[in-house]
Symmetry: C2
């Protein structure tokens, strides 16, 4: 099938998926570009793709050919990708032993970067708090570089979630800029959860008060704090070492 | 002085500093928001500020009061900052012993994040290659969180620079995704330079071929690479430890 009209109903419906409301209602989301589409196909989440006419893409997936203008109308990028995939939202799986809790993170690039690092450093499950940027925001997806399909990600009220996992023997670590134990000295338990927080204010006081211990990254006094994606990644990198050694 | 007209000549001149060409020609740059302005004042780089009328800012700096609309016309942010500073470009200082070389980095947020981490982990000098995003781009400055004023940053042809420092006894380390020594096993020399590269292709082959050794970060096989800001920061964090211990 080839669609050339920007007013085509199917295109209008797909374009609605750029808004969180429609993604939630339809349980679908969009991914842009060949790399992400290939990852989604491999992991079985793709429903269909829109692909620019004349682009060769010999994969077994339902394709609708469209014009560059249509792809441009759907994307937020300056130049449209060659293809856009429509995906089923990723189902939740049971949590593992090594959890990353994300409290009120706002920047989509930061969330995507943290997801990428969480896969790199063997986190089992990412738990998104209610006030965190939408996982299916296109900038989050782009920053994950497709790794969203390689890790369990669930959404929870973090206060209730922490109460629940503490009863089950998880130790919960908060991140603070200057208090607690230097990260390389942490002796992590087999079952743990690390909480990282908002770009401006860090982890909320309510959640910090629930933590079993606190972690910080030693740094030069001229630097008040690191980018939250960087800080989270350094801590995950260090914690991962304990399980490699 | 109060300026209310968007057509005012002074405002037009200042607005030109949002382009690299004018920043280079005038040796000036703009910073947005109170936090960055305060850092620039502390470090002696501020020339004057534009400040929204009725905003109280009891600092000893030359002020021109303007309307919100004027600030909005200069900024790239969705909502204008309360003040914008006009700064002298930062002069170069002699290089130290711990250098970070940046080859063809394109994303301003990544450069700003790396500068912030370089201050945190005691890099002496950052050396920007010719194809790297402009240091005085407003998104770079915002991502540095003011730490641009706390580190020596110079601009060089990296090939010539590496030849020069190798003659002076510096060891030069390249970053690769999977080759070389795991970063925690690096036994760094007192005088070293680390090279990090472009978001898509990493460090250019020409520069990698000049390196004395290579560093990588061990990670899960599902993750092909980390965000370059994250990867750079983890390596700087590890290298810094060698000098703390």
């Amino acid at each position: 099938m080839l669609i050339t009209s920007l007013e085509n109903n199917k295109i209008k419906e797909i374009r609605k998926l750029t808004s969180k409301k429609y993604r939630d209602r339809q349980n679908l989301f969009l991914i842009e570009g060949e790399h992400l589409v290939l990852e989604a196909i491999k992991r079985g989440y793709i429903k269909e793709i829109l692909i620019e006419q004349n682009v060769d893409f010999p994969m077994d997936v339902y394709k609708t050919y469209v014009t560059y203008e249509i792809l441009q109308k759907i994307t937020n990028m300056n130049s449209a990708p060659k293809m856009i995939g429509i995906c089923q939202k990723i189902e939740e799986k049971p949590i593992g032993n090594r959890l990353l809790l994300i409290d009120s993170l706002q920047d989509p690039g930061n969330l995507g970067t943290i997801i990428r690092s969480a896969v790199a450093f063997n986190v089992d499950t990412i738990v998104l708090g209610n006030n965190t940027v939408d996982l299916y925001n296109e900038k989050v997806l782009r920053a994950t570089q497709g790794l969203i399909f390689h890790i369990n990600i669930i959404k929870r009220d973090l206060k209730e979630f922490i109460e629940d996992i503490q009863k089950k023997g998880y130790l919960v670590y908060g991140t603070k800029v200057t208090h607690g134990l230097p990260v390389e000295q942490m002796d992590v338990n087999n079952k743990y959860a690390l909480i990282v927080g908002n770009e401006g204010v860090g982890v909320s006081k309510e959640l910090l008060d629930m933590c079993d211990d606190y972690i910080y990254i030693p740094m030069n006094v001229n630097c008040e704090s690191l980018n939250v994606g960087v800080a989270s990644s350094i801590i995950l990198y260090e914690l991962n070492k304990k399980f490699l050694n």
